[in-house]
């Protein structure tokens, strides 16, 4: 597969007069056509800076960004608009603009000053709106849409721009779970169906792990690139997200919190209720130790402590508080 984007010894950061703040140095990243990459990292490690630099919104401190083997900083601004499209976190709030109005702006780099859209342009706009499933809202005003729908409008605008590369900065922030999953699935499908390359910066680790073809894991030490599962198995996630408060649980790809555990109990019984019981116990500060003084027995519909039946987790915790 051909390379859409690569970087050569790229250093990113901010320079003010003589002061240079280097956020990340010597980045050598590659992105293939039709690939969806998630850029992951903790807040403040430089995700947005990298994305802005790749988008050409910000100058690189040193090194090069190459889009289709052309150096980004040498591409004219209106040519750049035909190579890469952006979906940003900037809130778009326009009085009396319809969904179609916004998506049509994606065709602007292709039309003359009067802004007339050809039939092909119009079809591109209709298709883009259809791809994000907003056909029924095409003539709705922007302020009548939900946050998830607005985000899809901006994605449709980027699609209408018809570029080989789309960059999205936190496209799922502020959205609820169903919308987050839907947008990630949509982007995944688009990358694979249309052959566009997609770069998404996100902190939704669990969704990124499932949807991304490749992950760029960013830490203060640099960027690790790989297939999500490889990065997990090689322990990169564990290293990247280390903290006193939580740890990356390689077993399920989620974060678990580190509770201070001082009290001991032992638990046995029904497997299906075990998971949730253990969660509640961990939160309340109980360490599960074989041979502890108190034993919790789990049956299919209740809990037993010292032969006393408890109907809810709440009752169980109250009981344990007295006993341990």
């Amino acid at each position: 597969m051909s390379l859409i984007l690569n970087t050569q010894n790229l250093s990113i950061g901010y320079s003010k007069k003589m002061n240079k703040t280097i956020v990340q140095a010597t980045l050598n990243l590659e992105l293939k056509a039709g690939e969806m990459v998630c850029l992951i990292g903790q807040n403040g490690c430089g995700k947005s800076t990298l994305l802005r630099t790749l988008a050409g919104l910000q100058k690189a401190l040193s090194g090069k960004v190459l889009v289709q083997n052309k150096e980004l900083s040498r591409i004219k601004i209106h040519e750049k608009a035909k190579l890469l499209a952006l979906v940003l976190t900037d809130r778009v709030d326009i009085d009396s603009a319809t969904v179609a109005d916004i998506v049509r702006m994606g065709r602007q780099p292709y039309c003359n000053w009067w802004g007339n859209l050809s039939e092909a342009d119009t079809k591109m706009v209709t298709d883009a709106i259809a791809m994000v499933h907003l056909e029924h809202k095409a003539e709705c005003y922007l302020n009548e849409l939900s946050d998830g729908e607005r985000q899809r409008v901006m994605i449709a605008k980027a699609l209408a721009q018809d570029t080989p590369l789309i960059l999205l900065d936190e496209p799922t922030a502020h959205l609820d779970l169903p919308n987050r999953v839907e947008i990630m699935l949509l982007l995944h499908k688009l990358a694979h169906q249309t052959g566009k390359s997609v770069i998404i910066s996100t902190h939704e680790l669990d969704i990124a792990l499932q949807a991304a073809d490749r992950i760029w894991l960013m830490t203060s030490a640099g960027v690790e690139s790989g297939v999500p599962e490889d990065l997990v198995l090689q322990g990169h996630f564990h290293d990247a997200f280390q903290s006193k408060a939580y740890y990356f649980n390689s077993a399920n790809g989620n974060f678990s919190m580190n509770y201070p555990m001082t009290k001991q109990v032992w638990v046995e019984g029904d497997k299906t209720r075990m998971y949730w019981t253990l969660r509640a116990l961990a939160r309340a500060g109980y360490m599960v130790v074989q041979g502890a003084d108190v034993t919790v027995e789990i049956s299919s519909d209740s809990w037993f402590v010292d032969k006393k039946e408890l109907k809810t987790v709440e009752e169980l915790l109250l009981m344990l508080e007295k006993r341990v």
Binding site: D90, V92, S96, D101, G115
Partner: protein, 313 residues
């Protein structure tokens, strides 16, 4: 229609038939004088003023993505009023041959407005965000306003009155001679605005999105400020500052035409602006004693701004 009404109404009322007669070249001599050399330029000025200030306001609202931005927000009119204040109140500094002509205040206003405009333009290259530019414009305006206050403190009541009369705004000061300057300036300003319509659309998405769509933001900002300077500065120089038209009309146009696409919005705004200012001019002549146009436009404009805020919750 309003244009004709505006011609007909005034301290001498002229019937529709008489207007037609004048235009066909066989009207009464007094009527002809009043119509051709007074009412007609005034009506054209009203149309130009309405269109220019409204479009300038629209461009500012789009550039700053702020519903309450207006053409004077960059300090152009404050600069112009400083120029006029210098001429009317500190006339010792100005060559005497200029003071006796009407051009003195106009030139002073143009120079004052242009100086502030150039300062803002110069700063616009050095500033990334539009919000900072907004603050810079307001600060320049504040400084100019403060200097005017200082001048007023040291002036005699007569020249203060002269200055205050100028700030009331007047459409009737524009004679055919002045029109030869005003008309081209405003037409060029409006033409530039029209040429920018695509870029203005994209600017509504925000500056980063605009860059992503291939627009050079700093260059576009420069042209917008320049066009606004021509429109607002030109009008202010010849008629004095006219309030509220610039901020209120773009909202009326958006409300009536239900669109944010500038290809439609710019002509719509011109139309609404010209119409409203003709109406204001007619109303200002209803009482036997003519009210300043600024008073009327404010009486109209303020309720409209209140309505915008209340509608936005």
């Amino acid at each position: 229609m309003l244009f004709v009404t505006d011609l007909a109404w005034g301290s001498i009322s002229i019937s529709f038939a008489e207007i037609m007669a004048v235009f066909q070249g066989n009207g009464d001599a007094i009527n002809q004088e009043v119509l051709l050399n007074f009412r007609l330029p005034k009506a054209i000025t009203a149309v130009l003023t309405g269109a220019a200030l409204s479009v300038a306001g629209l461009m500012m609202q789009t550039l700053f993505r702020n519903a309450l931005a207006e053409p004077y927000i960059l300090g152009v009119s404050a600069g112009a009023s400083l120029g006029v204040a210098l001429v009317t109140m500190a006339s010792g500094f100005v060559p005497a041959f200029l003071i006796n002509t009407g051009w003195a205040t106009i030139l002073a206003a143009i120079i004052g407005g242009a100086v502030v405009l150039l300062l803002v333009l110069g700063v616009s290259f050095r500033i990334q965000s539009a919000v900072s530019l907004l603050i810079v414009g307001i600060m320049f305006g504040t400084i100019a306003g403060a200097v005017v206050n200082v001048l007023q403190n040291f002036s005699d009541p007569d020249s203060i009155k002269l200055f205050v009369m100028w700030t009331f705004g007047s459409l009737s000061a524009v004679t055919w001679t002045y029109m030869q300057v005003l008309l081209p300036v405003i037409l060029v300003g409006l033409l530039i605005a029209m040429l920018l319509h695509k870029r203005l659309d994209v600017l509504l998405l925000g500056e980063n999105y605009a860059r992503g769509l291939g627009i050079s933001v700093i260059q576009t900002r420069f042209i917008i400020i320049l066009a606004t300077g021509l429109l607002a500065g030109g009008i202010t120089a010849f008629t004095g500052p006219i309030a509220f038209v610039g901020v209120a009309i773009p909202h009326i146009a958006r409300g009536l035409f239900k669109t944010s696409v500038h290809r439609v919005l710019i002509p719509a705004t011109m139309l609404c602006g010209a119409t409203l200012l003709l109406a204001c001019d007619i109303i200002s002549q209803l009482p036997t004693y003519t009210l300043p146009i600024n008073t009327i436009s404010s009486l109209f404009g303020a309720p409209i701004i209140l309505w915008i805020i209340l509608r936005k919750k």
